[in-house]
């Protein structure tokens, strides 16, 4: 969670872009990845994400995220590939038995699925890594007209993750100091042993939420129109980048329908 959604402070051109531009970029990649089924084209899209991360100077931080995604995609392909029987057989896992048969269509299809998944998932951490959440919220509320309470809820839930982790640690310590066993081998018993942790956590969370609501109320939350301290301007660079992205996107889709890019 913390790795995927963390802002990584750098002074790069990508960081300075408007959150709207970056949201558009993320959305464009998702849309394009749904059009194409050629693993090479999808790999190209992924390469563009890696390039953006490189330009933003956050490739080192993104490396474990990309590695994790590749691993998950690999597993995904492994689970799928043996169940597609159409197409020419390339090889079988145990020769002569037909068990673990891999076909050319299956291989291509699975590679495309995996690559598509990576493209869709990989732009999000780059977006979050280069955009401060407060800027993202301002754009969501001001430009995309998402109601402020929802955007606020999103930010606050991120703010409270460490608080609840701490709370959980305390509860675990308190319960294990009273001989509560967590390391049960039996799956059902293990599941049941979570209850004495979950219930206190829930109670304290509700109490915290109530206190927070009171504190918000005394500072005029939800009165009506509000202002924002920092508003990231949509600059000429953003307009240029957006029109560039739109042009590339449209070109790719046109080429796709002409049958050049699959």
């Amino acid at each position: 969670m913390s790795v995927v959604a963390n802002y990584i402070p750098r002074d790069s051109a990508v960081h300075r872009l408007s959150p709207l531009t970056k949201l558009g970029w993320s959305f464009l990649l998702m849309t394009l990845s749904c059009f194409f089924r050629d693993p090479l084209v999808l790999a190209g899209l992924f390469a563009s994400i890696v390039l953006v991360a490189l330009a933003a100077g956050i490739l080192k931080e993104m490396y474990p995220v990309f590695k994790g995604l590749l691993f998950i995609a690999g597993l995904f392909i492994l689970f799928q590939i043996f169940f597609i029987s159409e197409g020419k057989t390339l090889f079988t896992l145990i020769p002569g038995t037909g068990i673990g048969r891999v076909t050319d269509l299956g291989l291509l299809g699975c590679l495309a699925m995996g690559a598509r998944m990576i493209v869709i998932a990989a732009s999000f951490p780059v977006l979050m890594g280069t955009t401060q959440i407060k800027d993202l919220v301002v754009v969501l509320v001001e430009k995309l007209k998402i109601p402020y309470p929802y955007a606020f809820m999103f930010v606050t839930s991120l703010r409270f993750v460490p608080t609840f982790m701490q709370e959980m640690d305390q509860i675990i310590q308190a319960q294990s100091s009273r001989a509560h066993r967590l390391d049960n081998k039996n799956f059902i018993k293990k599941f049941l042993s979570i209850c004495p942790l979950a219930i206190p956590l829930m109670v304290t969370s509700v109490k915290k939420a109530e206190r927070m609501a009171i504190s918000m109320e005394t500072r005029g939350f939800g009165v009506g129109k509000r202002t924002n301290l920092h508003v990231k301007q949509f600059r000429a660079v953003d307009a240029a980048v957006c029109s560039g992205m739109a042009a590339i996107g449209i070109a790719m889709v046109v080429l796709h329908f002409r049958g050049i890019l699959l």
């Binding site: 109490k207 206190r211 927070m212 009171i214 504190s215 509000r226 920092h230």
Partner: protein
């Protein structure tokens, strides 16, 4: 009372305030009446469940707007009846700081935390920026401006909460056990800040606190509560003169004042009772010098 003061009226006026939480016949607040003038530093103390926190919630409008229950009587803040004034409007007059610093900080960065209330009240961004700088400066935590709120210590969090309340430029600051999670040094630091706000910026300060010794040192007036009633409303020195007031509600008189009180009963302490160790030292030095010690 001058004509001008008369027109302004008291900062806080509470009249026959009674409040019961839903599902309870017990009166959390029982026919309370008192007034606080602008610029006072009032300490409220009493045993747990005396109604101290409920009283504060009545002063910032959470009761009756947010908390259900049976509400009788009237609370006027700066002349406005809290019953007819929304919490948000009251937020411009009354700043509140609560016990749990963790639960009242909503933003991930200190700067945004201070800006939260200002943004809600639609203050122009340029002024927000200015007010953030001012209030951080005032509390003495300018260096924390760009820090993440989750990484702060308890004392720092509590001071950020005070700065966030101060940024709205209230006339009255309410604090509910603001030092409950602080060490003695942190407690002193918070009270020093409150004293400065009170003296230099004429802010009316109302603080609920269990630590009587620190209240005696800083507050100009003490309210002692028990079972939803005010059992004593007097300056700290008068309270020290009658230690049974504190012991009868289950509080311990501050050791320094108590010692001086016992010495005075035997004629061994001159003048007014001391509020701090420094006062006591001076008083005793004088007394002993007279006796040639």
């Amino acid at each position: 009372m001058t004509a001008e003061a008369d027109c302004a009226g008291p900062a806080i006026s509470v009249e026959k305030l009674t409040f019961c939480y839903p599902g309870s016949e017990l009166k959390a607040l029982d026919e309370l009446s008192f007034q606080v003038s602008a610029g006072e530093f009032v300490g409220i103390t009493g045993p747990t469940g005396a109604g101290k926190s409920s009283l504060l919630l009545c002063l910032n409008g959470i009761i009756p707007h947010f908390q259900d229950g049976k509400f009788h009587g009237a609370v006027k803040i700066d002349g406005c009846d809290t019953f007819d004034t929304s919490c948000a409007e009251l937020a411009r007059k009354v700043g509140s700081v609560f016990q749990d610093p963790e639960a009242q900080i909503v933003a991930p960065v200190v700067e945004e935390e201070i800006a939260f209330g200002l943004e809600n009240l639609a203050i122009p961004p340029r002024e927000i920026d200015q007010r953030i700088a001012e209030s951080l400066e005032l509390i003495g935590i300018s260096s924390l401006r760009h820090r993440s709120t989750t990484q702060l210590s308890g004392g720092q969090k509590q001071r950020v909460a005070i700065a966030a309340a101060i940024a709205l430029k209230p006339k009255i600051l309410l604090l509910d056990e603001p030092t409950s999670e602080l060490d003695p040094i942190g407690t002193m630091e918070v009270f020093e800040v409150l004293r400065r706000l009170n003296r230099e910026h004429h802010l009316t300060v109302i603080v609920v606190e269990q630590k009587v010794n620190i209240l005696v040192e800083y507050a100009g007036r003490l309210l002692i509560m028990k079972n939803g009633r005010i059992v004593c409303d007097a300056p700290p020195r008068e309270v020290l003169e009658r230690p049974e007031l504190l012991t009868s509600v289950g509080l311990r008189p501050p050791p320094v004042g108590d010692l001086a009180f016992k010495l005075k009963q035997r004629g061994l302490y001159p003048g007014a009772l001391p509020l701090t160790v420094g006062d006591a030292y001076q008083g005793l030095s004088e007394c002993w010098a007279d006796k040639g010690i």
